[in-house]
């Protein structure tokens, strides 16, 4: 295997803290292996910075296999980089050419304040789930698992929506920093299943209220969210959310 190496320039957003001013800083990485992932390149740059006595670039990452949702960088203006259905940790350098400049920024949204450099606070998404993104079942009260049959297709569709990893790329991509794909996926996951129906109205109203309180924007139906979603969650989840919301609002309550 030939081991040609590359020289790449990383243009990285550096910001010391939540209220500090930020700016893009260039870092030149020489002798880069095309087999590296983008995050490994950041690791290498950080080793260099450490050796030089400078502060390494802060970024979030954990599983590095595309499932935990920790990593999330806007790479050359697109969340999670150029490949479809991919998290940032699965972006490999073989798709770049010697001499390329790669711009890296954090997710930007009022609801995701920057902690440092490329690290943002996404706890707004947790608070939306806390408002109602679950089935209220106490441990111990469940019936026998096969007591409630669920049509295979419905279970598969629920799974399509449940595949969301909560990375926040949808928010990052949306020009309005809207979180409706995230919320819609959870609503759709639980509304598809009989287990989720008893709390159907309460759930959607509570989650939307929390979503608004967090300062996310509205949906403009452009589909940028689906295009960048590493799990390819469909925008139909948003339309289902709209329907569920309207239904819950119009349903007469006692």
């Amino acid at each position: 295997m030939s081991e040609a190496t590359m020289t790449l320039t990383l243009r990285v957003w550096r910001q010391a803290g939540p209220d500090a001013p930020g700016r893009l800083v260039d870092y030149c990485a020489r002798g880069v292996s095309p087999h590296m992932s983008l995050l490994e390149l950041l690791d290498v740059v950080n080793e260099d910075l450490t050796a030089k006595g400078e502060e390494p670039i802060a970024f979030d990452s954990d599983c590095r296999e595309g499932i935990c949702g920790s990593c999330g960088l806007v790479v050359d203006g697109v969340p999670h980089g150029p490949q479809a259905a991919t998290t940032t940790c699965q972006v490999f350098l073989r798709h770049y050419r010697d001499g390329n400049v790669i711009t890296i920024e954090p997710w930007r949204a009022r609801a995701f304040p920057i902690i440092k450099d490329l690290v943002v606070d996404r706890s707004a998404l947790d608070r939306i789930i806390a408002a109602g993104g679950y089935v209220s079942v106490d441990t111990g009260s469940a019936p026998e698992a096969n007591a409630i049959p669920v049509p295979k297709d419905e279970a598969e569709r629920a799974m399509d929506s449940a595949a969301c990893i909560g990375c926040g790329a949808c928010v990052a991509a949306c020009k309005n920093a809207s979180a409706v794909l995230f919320v819609g996926a959870k609503i759709e996951h639980l509304t598809r299943l009989p287990q989720g129906l008893p709390e159907r109205e309460r759930r959607v109203l509570a989650m939307v209220t929390q979503m608004d309180a967090e300062g996310f924007g509205s949906c403009s139906n452009e589909g940028e969210c689906e295009a960048v979603c590493p799990k390819e969650i469909s925008v139909t989840n948003i339309q289902r959310l709209n329907r569920e919301y309207a239904r819950a609002r119009l349903k007469p309550r006692r």
Partner: protein, 637 residues
């Protein structure tokens, strides 16, 4: 000292039920007066925190990640076992128990494993009620598949994302309690010490990873659910933040660490591509159903795989194990991959890889069938490696995957330190010397949903707990110690980065104390770790400030702990002078080359008491009694 696992009396299948009937209870109105600290929010931690919150306890839950939903349980692909016998193929609680204890090479506590099999069925019920979208049949009922080490289908799954879906279920339950006000969550908080007051675990010291602040938290009990220590090896399939620090801090406060040498190596991972490698990715074991494992016969053969004729290929698993072939268990496959690579027959840029070749399967079934079976895995491989596995054989190599060892716990999941409970991968209890596939998720949830709510209540109800606040001297001492350690590591200002230290430590442990070990190598590893530990404290560079988000500092504190803990792994590996499961001592092989157990001397749990960083730890053993199973020797020839 001989340790007592406090296994209840009575027949195996009645122990848990009877035990539960006699456990003490906490009155519902009193529960909110009891604060329970839960560290870690993976399957075990989240399920425990949620269940305890539902019961009304005042729960404080801590995670090092930015959200509980990201814990590494999320990466488990395959599934979760349960003795439902939905397939009518003869499954039962006893069979699940037997497979698990045999798979563990008879180094687990019988009563714990049986209880695990018993509650497995309730886990599925509960998760389905939570809305976990398990795979289903057309009739709408739950589907099962078969998994390694079992002759029946008892594995429930949600595509290749079972761990993720179960964790989202537990996370939802946890967030529901956050909303209800019974649980408070503290994301981006790392536990740096355990606080022991009057011999009981009464709290923890954490570092706020955003502000760097050290914080003290007092409670009536501490539940540790912080996962395994696979990252001791630097490269593993574990997530980057998974670490041993919380568990090791408990060990240094007096909790015994059991069987640390039991480390599971998964044979089919994507090999490292170079020095920069930061983690390894697992490729599902199922690939060995159709892939053939081979290397060139001639050492150092650098030809492209397609240029190597059939006659010059060495299908080592098929030749050495004619009856099981490529489907030998994980540990056997891993050992053989290692041995051919060490003989110079390895392939790929580093020489540490073997081919997993689908050419025959594609010829036999057609590419479309193979795509249907493994399409997503092939895609994942191609994304990472850049080769098309339909055309070029995959390259695979074993990697550290799971750690069976952990803090010693009794039947109630309480460590020898009263008030410290340990759940999930962080404890040692259920998998013996080797874990079967689809059992880790089962154990984490069993511990959190269905065991700890009972046993913790009994501890709280049966103990007179003095009032302790976070201003108690013991808390101040622990916080000062943590601060001193942070200051010390920042003061070193050496030349070597934390990552470089970690990588070096991992390499030593991997070479001398992983897939196969021998006394000499282990001794060398131990000496190397000791030497590196000295060096670390004189030559490590940790940039940045302690008072804000500082990844290097986080890692430095963890690596410092690995440099102590690694020695314990070596000590345990050396002391266990037998082979069993994942612990393969080259001195103890059957004539067939299989792990040769020594039941007479080593049918016990080795639990180590920390005596000081430079002191030898004290060994305590818990003899393992087998009443319901006969100990047998594995063979796969």
């Amino acid at each position: 000292m001989i340790l007592d696992g406090k296994v209840p009396a009575g027949p195996l299948d009645a122990k848990w039920a009877r035990h539960k009937d006699h456990l003490k209870l906490v009155n519902p109105v009193n529960r909110r007066k009891h604060t329970v600290i839960v560290v870690g929010t993976g399957l075990a931690g989240a399920s425990a925190a949620a269940s305890l919150g539902e019961l009304g306890y005042n729960v404080l839950a801590f995670t090092i990640l930015d959200s509980p939903r990201r814990a590494h349980s999320i990466a488990a692909q395959g599934g979760i076992n349960a003795a439902k016998n939905y397939k009518n193929d003869g499954d039962s609680v006893f069979r699940l128990f037997y497979d698990t204890i045999k798979g563990g090479d008879f180094r687990a506590r019988e009563a714990n494993v049986h209880r695990l099999a018993e509650v497995s069925v309730k886990i599925i019920d509960h998760c389905v009620a939570q809305g976990v979208p398990f795979a289903r049949e057309y009739g709408g009922f739950l589907d099962n598949r078969s998994f390694g080490g079992a002759q029946l289908s008892r594995t429930f799954y949600a595509r290749g994302q079972t761990g993720q879906q179960l964790l989202i279920g537990a996370y939802g339950a946890l967030m529901r309690q956050v909303h209800a006000g019974t649980v408070k969550i503290f994301p981006r908080h790392e536990m740096l010490d355990l606080v022991v007051v009057d011999g009981r675990a009464r709290g923890i010291v954490t570092r706020n990873l955003v502000t760097g602040e050290l914080e003290r938290w007092a409670g009536d009990a501490v539940l540790l659910a912080t996962g395994g220590y696979g990252n001791l090896y630097f490269l593993s399939t574990n997530a980057g933040n998974s670490n041993v620090t919380a568990a090791w801090r408990c060990a240094k406060r007096g909790a015994y660490f059991a069987n640390p040498c039991f480390v599971q190596i998964h044979p089919t991972c994507i090999p490292a591509s170079g020095e920069h490698q930061s983690k390894l990715t697992l490729m599902s074991e199922s690939l060995r159903n159709d892939g053939r494992v081979w290397v060139p016969q001639r050492a150092g053969d650098r030809r492209a795989p397609s240029d190597i004729p059939e006659s010059e290929r060495f299908y080592f698993l098929e030749e050495r194990y004619p009856s099981f072939g490529n489907l030998v268990p994980r540990d056997v496959a891993a050992r053989n991959c290692k041995s051919v690579c060490e003989a110079g027959q390895g392939v790929g840029p580093t020489g540490y890889a073997v081919y997993l070749d689908f050419a025959d399967a594609i010829r036999r079934f057609g590419a479309s069938v193979i795509r249907e079976r493994y399409g997503n895995l092939f895609q994942m491989y191609e994304r990472i490696v850049g080769d098309d596995p339909y055309a070029v054989p995959m390259r695979i190599y074993p990697a550290v995957h799971y750690t069976m060892g952990g803090l010693w716990v009794d039947y109630d999941l309480m460590s020898n330190l009263p008030g410290l409970f340990v759940l999930g991968e962080a404890n040692f209890s259920d998998h013996g010397a080797n874990r079967l596939g689809a059992s880790a998720l089962m154990q984490g949830l069993a511990d959190g949903y269905f065991i700890i709510p009972y046993t913790l209540a009994s501890y709280i109800a049966g103990t007179t707990l003095s009032k302790v606040t976070a201003d108690h001297d013991a808390f101040m001492e622990a916080a000062q110690a943590a601060q001193a350690r942070i200051d010390r590591v920042l003061r070193v200002r050496g030349d070597v980065s934390v990552t470089a230290h970690h990588r070096r430590l991992g390499q030593v442990m991997w070479e001398k104390c992983s897939i196969a070990r021998n006394a000499r190598g282990i001794e060398e590893a131990r000496a190397a770790v000791r030497a590196q530990r000295q060096e670390f404290w004189h030559n490590v560079r940790v940039p940045g400030e302690p008072t804000n988000f500082n990844k290097s500092l986080e890692q430095a504190l963890r690596v410092a702990d690995y440099l102590e803990f690694g020695e314990l792994v070596a000590i345990d590996a050396l002391a266990r002078d037998e082979s069993c499961g994942s612990h393969f001592r080259e001195e103890h092989a059957t004539p067939d080359g299989e792990a040769q157990r020594d039941d007479e001397h080593f049918a016990h749990v080795a639990a180590w008491e920390w005596r000081g960083t430079e002191e030898a730890p004290t060994l305590h053993t818990e003899p393992l009694h087998f009443e319901s199973v006969t100990l047998t020797q594995r063979s796969y020839r």
